[in-house]
Amino acid sequence: MTEPLVARHSLEYPGGYTRSVGDVVGRYLTGLRDGRIEGARLADGRVLVPPTEYDPLTSAAVSVDDFVEVGPAGTVVTWSWVANPRAEKHALDRPFAFALIRPDGADTSMLHMVDVATPEEMSTGMRVIPHWRSDRIGGVSDIEAWRPYKDGDPIPEVPPLPFSENMGDSVTGIVTSGRLDYEIAAGESTTRFLLGLAEGKIIGGKAVGSDDVYAASRGTDPTTGAPTSISVDVSDTGVITTFCIVNIPGLSDLAPEIPYVSAQVLLDGADNTFFGLIRGCSVDEVRMGMRVKAKWLDQLTTDHGSIEWWEPTGEPDAEYTDYKDYL
């Protein structure tokens, strides 16, 4: 029974997404940076917090002219407990409550965190007040957390920001980052193919009732949806059907120095083409119809990289008619 091939995978845009926010969201975030929570008064008199750009019921545009200050204290409308905060995602590194909090003067509630030690200290209807970070930048985490508040008690101070030249400028954008981690299974057909690569073989798949052999099949004959259940050994020599010369440096860690050739290769015994790097000759010598052979790594693994590149065999070129249907 073959062991499934499984790999870790991460999705993260390097540096984070740079999001421009527009006037309304920018004004709210500027308010947060300045230690102030604002809402927008809608046409029907309700005060919307946080002030999203459009009235949730009528879709009318919200204007910064309609902004009013709310809170700072508020009431917990509903809450839930986060027993195991996630590093690099949650702003607090100790257990906390997520809550919908309605600041005084608002008709809607905003999602944020309440910082108490245990869930027993949380209750619907409890009074809370924001505590502000000293390193505010104009984002929702400028409120470090809300904490229980007794009406009449002193209001937590808003720590003054360190001086900076553009501290008076409006907030125009935020950067949001966050990595998502995955465990991806190769799939049965791909596992078979990669195990073959580890043994210096190229394994193709064929569906019952078809003559078409797919090198590196994803599991089916795509023209019928039938599983490529029959394994067929495919040669590691073949023909360049078409190619391009790449002249852009640094497209990938695996790319050689420019210029280099990226080609479609039709292997002897297979009926589909796939991409490969061509080396072992100058880029000017590469031509459609040129016969090539896989250059295998010394240390083979279950990875596409086991074939480093394809190099000319020196055999006479294939006739155009042999590969013209495989361009």
Partner: protein
């Protein structure tokens, strides 16, 4: 069972730019949607349903953005869909929206397609490396450039064929204030001397990366009759798909493109597209796709596409202008580009294309979008007159 008639009664689009730092995502789509509503003489409460289209979520890092956009697009309390068919998405979104009216389920549908890809990077978004997949070493152009070489071999097209398109589309864009690239000084020599990225594609043969949104209001016959501005009637719509890879697949002249065109022409009564259409907005992200698609879409015999371009047939003042708006080569917010094609031909037959209006003789035009590995196709033919 005959379909209900459907017409484009309002069109709106943003200024497409390399980055729209002045707006949020909602602000971007809103700009196009508001213009389309105003053009249709409608308000948010007139709309029955909203259909949104966008390319992969990763570009903006927002999953299922229609959920966040419901308030911005007046969709609360209404049906809302989000279509995703890779690069053809803008076109297929328009088709899904039009079908809601054709089916008789809704009378007024707002459809919007957009991309705010400057929030990340389109090259990154298109080529996220996945485990167990062969690494994409050569980038997006590296996928298409070998096919272009194959086309050149098959057709005998000279090297400058693509460059002619690069010049033509950018000069067309000068007439279009909404286009991203404005290069009035562009010449063939400039394109030939621009950086050779993926032989034979040069830098100026490739599309820009843009932020932008496109919106349309689609209406029933009754709604069209009451519209304040001229409408564009849908004469035919079609979509076709084929697998990314299979034995002996022709990626240069894909069957799905041919079948899709044949279907839409049959519906619209087009027997000779070059003669029966006044213009076409065709998804050409790399200049060479104009000659290739001229053949795929039956504007000429196989192998002759480059000749049509070289003759000037597709020029702004040619007999069959292609991409009078400047096309994808001048503006490419990926999720929106297909809908921009569909919306631009609607504007043409309405006589509403302003500085890039072509002369109307037949009053019909073709909008086209494609995506994936040249495998997803969406097309429509619109006309100034109601179809019989």
């Amino acid at each position: 069972m005959s379909k209900n008639a459907v017409a484009v009664v309002g069109v709106g689009q943003t200024h497409h730019r390399s980055s729209r730092k002045d707006v949020s995502m909602a602000g971007l789509v809103r700009e196009a949607a508001v213009e389309a509503l105003e053009d249709a003489g409608m308000t948010w409460s007139d709309i029955d349903a909203v259909v949104v289209g966008k390319a992969p979520d990763m570009f903006e890092g927002v999953a299922m953005p229609e959920l966040y956009l419901a308030d911005a697009l007046g969709a609360v309390g209404k049906p809302m869909l989000r279509v995703h068919t890779a690069g053809s998405v803008g076109g297929s979104t328009a088709i899904v929206a039009a079908k809601l009216v054709q089916a008789g389920v809704h009378e007024r549908v707002l459809t919007v397609a957009y991309e705010k890809q400057s929030e990340s990077n389109a090259t990154w978004g298109l080529s996220v490396p996945m485990p167990f997949s062969p690494p994409l070493v050569a980038g997006a152009g590296g996928y298409f450039a070998p096919m272009i070489r194959a086309y050149m071999t098959r057709s005998g097209a000279p090297r400058e064929s693509g460059h002619l398109v690069a010049v033509k589309d950018r000069l067309n864009a000068v007439r279009n204030p909404r286009a991203h690239l404005h290069m009035p000084e562009i010449t063939l020599k400039m394109v030939e001397e621009s950086w050779l990225l993926w032989d034979p594609l040069r830098y100026l043969d490739t599309c820009p990366s843009s932020d932008g949104a496109m919106a349309m209001v689609l209406g029933s016959e009754k709604v069209a009759a009451a519209a304040p501005n001229p409408v564009a009637w849908v004469h035919g719509m079609a979509m076709r798909s084929e697998p990314t890879m299979f034995a002996r697949r022709d990626q240069i002249n894909p069957q799905a493109g041919k079948d899709c065109a044949a279907d839409v022409y049959r519906q619209a009564g087009i027997s000779d597209p070059r003669r029966d259409l006044d213009c076409a907005e065709i998804y050409v992200p790399f200049s060479w796709y104009e000659p290739m698609w001229l053949e795929n879409l039956g504007f000429c015999a196989e192998g002759d596409g480059w000749k049509l371009t070289a003759e000037g047939a597709t020029a702004f003042d040619g007999d069959i202008p292609w991409n009078p708006s400047g096309g994808v080569l001048s503006s490419n917010p990926i999720g929106a580009s297909g809908m921009i094609r569909f919306g631009e031909v609607a504007q043409q037959v309405r006589g509403a294309a302003g500085g890039h209006q072509v002369e109307l003789k037949t009053g019909k035009a073709l909008g086209h979008a494609y995506g994936g590995g040249s495998q997803f196709f969406a097309m429509w033919v619109v006309g100034a007159k109601k179809p019989e």
